[in-house]
Symmetry: C2
Subunit: 323 residues, 2 copies
């Protein structure tokens, strides 16, 4: 950790510049609430619905900031990345809007809905095995072959600055928050939330929510250094990847605590949200509500922003229906 | 039709008074869009998401206007109604907020999610057979027994004035519309839409969308007088009831045309909306998109407001999954 961490140079002005750059390409998503879920949790919950982005996830913010920040010269060879899904389709979407090529490496086990969306936006998929090691090896080949600019799904200051615009909107759309909670996989959304909230609303606590079965961020946070798993398995397919140095920078400094939930608890929270908030969201997006329900004393009586990160789900394979 | 029609006395000021009365009890729901669905239809679609009302449907507007418009004296015996679901739970919700009793007659075949919601809001259910005749006979007994104020699900000027507030918001939230389209069952939402749009945006066409298998409004519109079916069957369970004189007043005067769609087309449109708009909505709410897809020449190049009427659906029984 003695090397320079690029994310350490990010300031709130980078978030503001990102917001101006990406505004033509993203939606200012609404914030929804449910009296039923408020009664159930004892908290007042403000759900920031990033599933309503055209590409179905907050990742379009960071991807658009990277794509539209490229010089015309850098843009000619396009962009490339590896991703379990939403970054892949968001980068394809942003690249498509700029009219440049996009090559993505995705695990063969990624949801079909996400693969379909990548192709619809004009991205090219190379499949890998569902492990960090296979993903990285396959990506090295693709990058060497295409020469595209690598836009990492989260370990990239351009991406973190883009994701940071989400909580800037959330703070504007609510009248003060005691806490914000977001799912954590690689930590891009949480890092962006840290950048914005620690600067614009320093009294607001920042929590991260993680699947028990992919709890490397939780264990890293408790240990004080990055611990990475290879090939974790959880229903929350968007949260399989480990922290990297740029996201660890924010997670280790600005996060108040990390909570975990089991896959059964995640599925229950997902169904509750579909039923009472009436939004289509992914298992990954249900982890915050699952952990709020599990830790009622932390959130009771608080005004809590909850980031619904994405809504790309196979409607023919809903996890509460047994097959 | 020589008798006096109470709805004929409604003015746009009744809508405005209703909006002021119900604002503390309803949500100003967001308007969502999808580039994908725009490309698919060739139109620019503005979806008004009434499924995000706490009770999950636009019906909370009319129900709240009726409940909160009662004098304290009239309110003591509470309210009663018959409904296939969303009016029942919306009236229960409004009555619960005012602290007065609510008795509802529902067909035994109504979705479990809707029955559960009525009970959660404190309403009392009496079940009937799924036919207009059984519903009316059962209701007469309940009303005689309880003495509650009858709030008809749609054939009531108070209810129509309340539903009219939805398109007032939609017009404010969009920058001019060429057309508005809403599902039609008894015609309460369409009548409210007529009241508002014919006064505030007279150049906007008003369309209604109906299931082929419960097409009494379509046949009434073409015949020029009310034709009622007994016991129609369609996946769109919110649209089974016939027009009555107060809604016929508006439908016959202000509606440009009525389109129909088959149950298969409705299910396809429902799944498209869940997938690309990422909202949970009922089959009834998918009828407008189904008819837009079926009549592309009518809507191509137009700015079209589409009212998503409700989102109370059994998540364990999704119609695109075969059992």
């Amino acid at each position: 950790m003695l090397d320079h961490i690029p994310a350490a140079d990010l300031t709130i002005d980078d978030m503001r510049a990102a917001h101006e750059r990406i505004k033509p390409h993203i939606r200012r998503t609404p914030v929804l609430g449910s009296d039923f879920l408020n009664d159930l949790t004892g908290a007042q919950l403000f759900f920031k619905c990033e599933n309503f982005q055209e590409a179905g996830a907050f990742k379009v913010r960071g991807a658009s900031n990277a794509v539209f920040g490229l010089s015309d010269d850098m843009a000619t060879k396009g962009v490339c990345t590896h991703s379990s899904g939403n970054h892949a389709l968001s980068l394809s979407y942003a690249a498509g809007r700029r009219g440049i090529p996009c090559n993505v490496v995705m695990p063969r086990t990624a949801p079909q809905a996400k693969k379909d969306a990548v192709r619809r936006y004009g991205g090219t998929i190379t499949e890998c095995e569902p492990s960090t090691s296979s993903r990285e090896a396959t990506f090295a080949e693709v990058q060497a072959r295409t020469g595209g600019e690598f836009v990492h799904p989260y370990n990239d200051p351009r991406v973190i600055a883009g994701q940071a615009t989400c909580s800037a909107e959330l703070l504007e759309q609510t009248d003060g928050l005691d806490a914000v909670i977001a799912p954590i996989g690689g930590g891009g959304m949480v890092s962006g939330t840290c950048l914005t909230v620690s600067n614009l609303s320093p009294s607001t606590a920042i929590y991260a929510a993680e699947p028990e079965q992919a709890d490397d961020a939780y264990r890293s946070f408790k240990a004080g250094h990055i611990i990475a798993d290879d090939a974790p398995k959880t229903i929350a397919d968007g949260l399989l990847v480990p922290l990297k140095e740029n996201t660890w920078h924010f997670v280790s400094r600005n996060v108040t605590d990390i909570f975990t939930a089991s896959d059964d608890e995640i599925i229950e929270a997902m169904k509750l949200t579909w039923k009472y908030l009436r939004v289509v969201m992914e298992p990954s997006s249900a982890v915050p509500l699952a952990t709020i329900l599990k830790n009622p004393d932390v959130f009771r009586g608080k005004r809590v922003g909850v980031i619904i990160t994405g809504g790309n789900v196979d409607l023919d394979k809903l996890p509460w229906l047994k097959w």
